[in-house]
Subunit: 198 residues, 2 copies
Amino acid sequence: MSSLLEQLIEAFRVLPGVGQKTAQRMAYHVLERERDGGKRLAETLAASIERIGHCKRCRDFTETEICATCASASRDAHQLCAVESPADRLAIEQATGYRGLYFILQGRLSPLDGIGPRELGLDQLTARMAEGEVQELIIATNPTVEGEATAHYLAQLARQHGVRPSRLAHGVPLGGELEYVDRGTLSHAFGSRSEMPQ
Amino acid sequence: MSSLLEQLIEAFRVLPGVGQKTAQRMAYHVLERERDGGKRLAETLAASIERIGHCKRCRDFTETEICATCASASRDAHQLCAVESPADRLAIEQATGYRGLYFILQGRLSPLDGIGPRELGLDQLTARMAEGEVQELIIATNPTVEGEATAHYLAQLARQHGVRPSRLAHGVPLGGELEYVDRGTLSHAFGSRSEMPQ
């Protein structure tokens, strides 16, 4: 086995969820059948790492100083939605008709991992709310222990600046079967039941 | 979302088993947490595609004209082991004490997919056997329908050149439980039973 091939297999292991066997399969696959695609991947990856940075306003990934969403005149600057990751932002953008702006935390509060307010860019978020334009902070962190802690922290921060904090509704997923919904969710959904409209 | 980021996500999809969601996760992961590793991957991938070719003797991947195994003086040139892929070659090399040489078919006979003797480099294999040095052709294609067909074809080819063809033993895997062994394997193992040594 050539040493460059070994290096390639090792290099593939930086990808999430890729162990030795998968990395080997990827290397062989690219060399056997996808040389053009592999070349394009190498070039795009190098260009992306060099050119994609964070938006100065919302911390999302962007090639420009301010991302297209933040720069858009058609978005409602009164609403700001805080999410943990660009993937969450994308999910909300694709699923909902939300027309406000975003703030990407790039993580959640996790003191044990050394992730505090500074790492999440909360100075920036505070400054943004102090500007006075934002009226509602929609907190869309994940419903995990750390996500909830982050949500509470953000809610406090919002109230200090006269911004109304809101949180995504929890409950039974559409199309799910009650039998398979976890107990915490079911208990929450039961407690938060609402009267049916006539 | 920046267009370079979309291109990166699309580019990751050339990897085997990677769909839209996984590609997205890979792109975000690399940009968020593995910029150095991603850069190394881009460089190694580009270098590999440019420099890794096939060995002139065995068709394995190599950076040089003849791979290290074929060039080695300590390997036994009387034995030649034919495998479908470099991954199979590696598995045999790691699991057994085999000291002969290899021939990598880079596929198996599959007329419907347009893979015939030419695509598997059988001219080369024939020329190799005609040289007269090879005494045994160990056929280690996979025990699938196409792998078996390829094995029969190779065995005929070997006999035509006075080379003894052999095939890996089939049977119950070590450590397996009879109850869970598939019927074909069990039936074969039963039929091929051998007398126990005293």
